[in-house]
Symmetry: C3
Subunit: 433 residues, 3 copies
């Protein structure tokens, strides 16, 4: 016997068990369910597969290297500096050609500063004084340039002066040129060399066109017509970012250059191309003086014949360019394909759940369908029998007009497998269809 | 006929097919299922929707721009340098005001280094020598400052000396001040200007309070009471990061300033505010001398009247501040809302699967419910009939006390749709409920 | 009555409703379904849990701090510079020891440049001229070094010359040494100190071995045998990245050093170790002269006794190293565990859906199983009765050889709960099994 039973058990392992469905011939819910199914299918095909390329394995851990190189010279003729040429080594900070670079477009030069004592700038509130006791010796001037020596320096005849300070003297004059000194930086060009690599797919590419025509790469300029030329005119970048170069050159600012690589590696490598976009990163709208523009101070240090240090302080205004690279690559892979299809099918189950709710709670004949959907378990008839003694048949769900007590056995039978069979035949329900 | 059949087929497309359920009046499993349902609902509502805001489309590709500006002067009076003022151009490296900046708080200055020959520092093991042959000419000193010339230099009367090297001479003395030279950097302030933009939602904001009160922004300091003031005292930053400024100023270290933007764009833009947090990034606990602190060497190059280069070597200790910005924005969107609800409903299916397992395998009457749940297919009764000839009825699952052969037709009927109908009526099972 | 009905309703809340299944004794579909189930189980256990560690909560928002420090000196002897020693302060740019650093390996020095007029380099096409009118005064030389003064300078006897320009004179000579000047940089070492922190799990670690043996950290070099030594020889890094140091030293290039932290925090902290990998980031294959190598220009500014600025221009070739840190940590958490198991179970539903399709559409007896699976709703028999008047019974699905009109009541009964009961008994279908 044992062997036969085990064989039966083993065979039953390969019986396929499928959910039993009840066909509810309700066209409203039927149409609703088809609409839900179509929506899910449209979402799955349109959004997940076509738009999001759900059939692909993706690599977002882009390895990127950016090298930038500026070209251009500017000529200035000011009373302070005389005729002067500015080249790359003068105006690019830092010089390394990294992904973040600053082009100096305006500057306030304070030459020959030495460690000494002098009057603090009158524009600093904390430095104003009436008498020496206003200038506490050894105290640093708040937001100022040095440490107070304890004396109050006044111009001849005036009652109010500024504290004497120990500082790099003379202190910087707070006057910015009305016109950017290096406004011609608008015509400078920057060559942005961007190599990327998707390690998962071992795919490398550069933003430089693979061409034999080397002179093209030396003379081209990026534009709508030349989308794969990696040389950009600074003035164009600022304009595309929605700024005005001369105005930014005066105050300074920050421009973002986004390079987006969105590569479908199921296609040819030549289809994988960078997409550039430009945006102004510093919030121009905030027009409070404390938060507008971009500038910083740096100094060049010299030593005179006596070995004493002196320096030239430069307050540099200019445009900082941040090159930001991101991207992702996708390639067909069976695992995400199956997962996404399966998730879509699982969504169908949620759609069915929703339609079930409509069917058994919201529509007119929901009571009827509820009885049809839920086959009562073994105790059902017992409870109904018990309840039946207290309740009129109409109050028992799915038993409204049933001749409940007529054929006890066959009735209990029916109440189990399809309690609403008779309800089915009642005129009121046929009318309801 | 064809037309009618096609019409019937077409109409049947809109029949709604719903799963047939069996009501198992088992309170234990029923309660279990309700608990599972409530848990999933709580997870869906509480975690997915309220905590994770699953009804929102999110943008995590934050575009951020950070501009930093330090303010403060320090006064030092050392035997080496005399009275000296240090201002921003002196102690901030690099000067550009980027998101990573270093504030020099301590330094070892080696002035007037020239290309020459001199004795290597005695603290370098590889440079120690007893005789000239220990100093192989042209060999670089391991972890040293120059290239050996082949001579061993000894102090008068000592037997052990150091190799002579060609290097920037004199070489740096390995003695660090006991007290940070620029300890007063604790009172310096840094103004951190952070503009962000969420490109997907075209939403921009700054961390600077939009206020007419400009003097507030000039005088405020960030603290619990002033969470929207972007000016930070360095000493406070270090304290909030769990460090001690004077101790860090001596050895150097790295502090991270995280700015977190977590914006719910369904609310007013003014609700989208940065949250700052501070942490010490270099592992302070590792107290091996090789891995503690932060310092680097740089040089200022000069040229004397004869055109010979000389330099001042500076070993700078200090605190590097890394400003790191991240954030995400969310806005209501119908797609993630539906996806999340649907996923929650799909989870319900998993819950039902789990309860089914309990029902048909784990509880006392599982045999009975198994029969109820699985309606046997067409061959069932044939196999049972076959098996019945070999096995006593009790060994056939769901057939324990059934009068298997009495009314062949109605019995086979029952064995199909509800094989355990009679079992239902057996006293043993009624007792079991 | 109310109380009893409410109690019944309340009790029915805890009735467990389970889907009714039909056992289809079709071994093909049964085996298919078991295969699908096993595949999903294998995917769930093997991929989601073992490979992807789906039972863990993960933190990918790594906080990282990188400090780099180079060691090494190089000796050069050129006609231009004489005997010269290069140390860290000379060849590392920028000096701060950040995660991106550049080691100068070759250079073109143009000393004593002053603001003056001189002939433009003959290698710039735009500067070539036959007569003065070719050199428009005030116009900048395209890709050149200065602004034209309007004169055409010719060598004695030649008919073609170059424009005179106002620039930093003399201009740079376009000749690169054939051999890298600082080729011995191959033996320089870099100490990379990387501290990481996973904020979610409050877990910190360093890439420096926690050891008492301090001299080990001073003398070790990273290699396969010493995977936890953070000191790297530059030549090795380049070799591991697939490059040739001397060739890269000549032209310049960019090397990426990836540090990967992949920490399973369910294990001991000592199991969480960095994994290093090295790759060449600039695309070496692109052999157009415009896009190969890495170099930039910077200048050292001096001031002579008369207060006139002059500078030394340096075109630096070298290797830029980008240290990139990423990682993730995982720790057991009940929420992702449950979510992943549930998603796996939901996938089972999709598998069942797929098998259902096979069962009711693709196999030979699909018609039969369709009828078995879908129990017809109340109108079914009415429609069938109506259709029956026009169609022979065989055309009605699931009704092929049924004695449709014999016992109206019991027949309608059967057509509801299992319309194919009789079909079951027909020889044709038994043969089909």
């Amino acid at each position: 016997m044992g062997q036969v039973a085990w064989k039966a058990l083993f065979l039953s392992l390969f019986d396929y068990k499928t959910e039993k469905y009840v066909i509810a011939k309700n066209k409203k819910v039927g149409v609703l369910y088809r609409v839900v199914q179509l929506s899910i299918l449209a979402y799955l095909v349109g959004w997940v597969f076509v738009v999001k390329k759900g059939y692909q394995d993706t690599d977002t851990s882009l390895q990127s290297s950016v090298i930038t190189k500026l070209k251009g010279v500017a000529f200035t003729n000011t009373s302070e500096l005389g005729e002067r040429i500015w080249d790359v080594a003068d105006y690019v900070i830092p010089p390394q050609g990294e992904s973040v670079f600053f082009v100096m477009t305006n500057l306030i030069v304070t030459p020959n500063q030495r460690q000494a004592t002098c009057a603090e700038s009158a524009s600093i509130p904390d430095a104003l004084c009436d008498r020496d006791t206003d200038c506490l010796e050894g105290e640093a001037v708040v937001a100022g340039n040095g440490v107070k020596t304890g004396r109050c320096l006044k111009d001849r005849g005036s009652t109010r002066g500024t504290c004497e300070i120990l500082a790099w003297c003379p202190v910087e004059k707070r006057s910015k040129p009305k016109k950017p000194l290096l406004g011609s930086a608008e015509n400078f060009t920057v060559y942005i060399k961007n190599s990327i690599r998707f390690p998962k797919f071992k795919f490398s590419k550069m933003n430089v066109l693979a061409t034999d025509n080397e002179s093209y790469l030396k003379s081209c300029r990026y534009s709508q017509e030349h989308p794969y030329c990696p040389i950009f005119v600074l003035g164009n970048i600022v304009r595309w970012a929605g700024g005005d170069f001369q105005e930014m050159a005066l105050q300074g600012g920050v421009i973002g250059i986004q390079i987006e690589w969105n590569c479908d590696l199921d296609k040819a490598p030549s289809e994988c191309n960078p997409h550039y976009s430009f945006s102004r990163l510093d919030n121009k709208s905030a027009e409070t003086s404390i938060s507008s523009g971009y500038n910083f101070r740096f100094a060049k240090y010299y030593r005179d014949a006596e070995g004493v240090d002196y320096r030239t302080l430069i307050k540099a205004y200019g445009i900082r360019f941040d090159v930001m690279v991101n991207g992702k690559a996708g390639k067909f892979n069976i695992i995400p394909t199956i997962i996404n299809i399966s998730s879509g099918l699982a969504l169908m189950g949620a759609g069915a759940f929703f339609c079930d709710l409509v069917l058994i709670y919201l529509i007119k004949k929901s009571n009827f369908y509820r009885g049809k959907k839920y086959e009562e378990g073994p105790l059902g008839k017992v409870r109904q029998a018990l309840l039946g003694t207290f309740l009129p048949p109409e109050t028992i769900p799915g038993c409204s007009s049933r001749p409940c007590a007529c054929f006890p056995r066959s009735n209990s039978r029916k109440s189990l497998s399809s309690p609403t069979l008779n309800g089915n035949q009642s005129p009121e329900q046929l009318d309801g269809l």
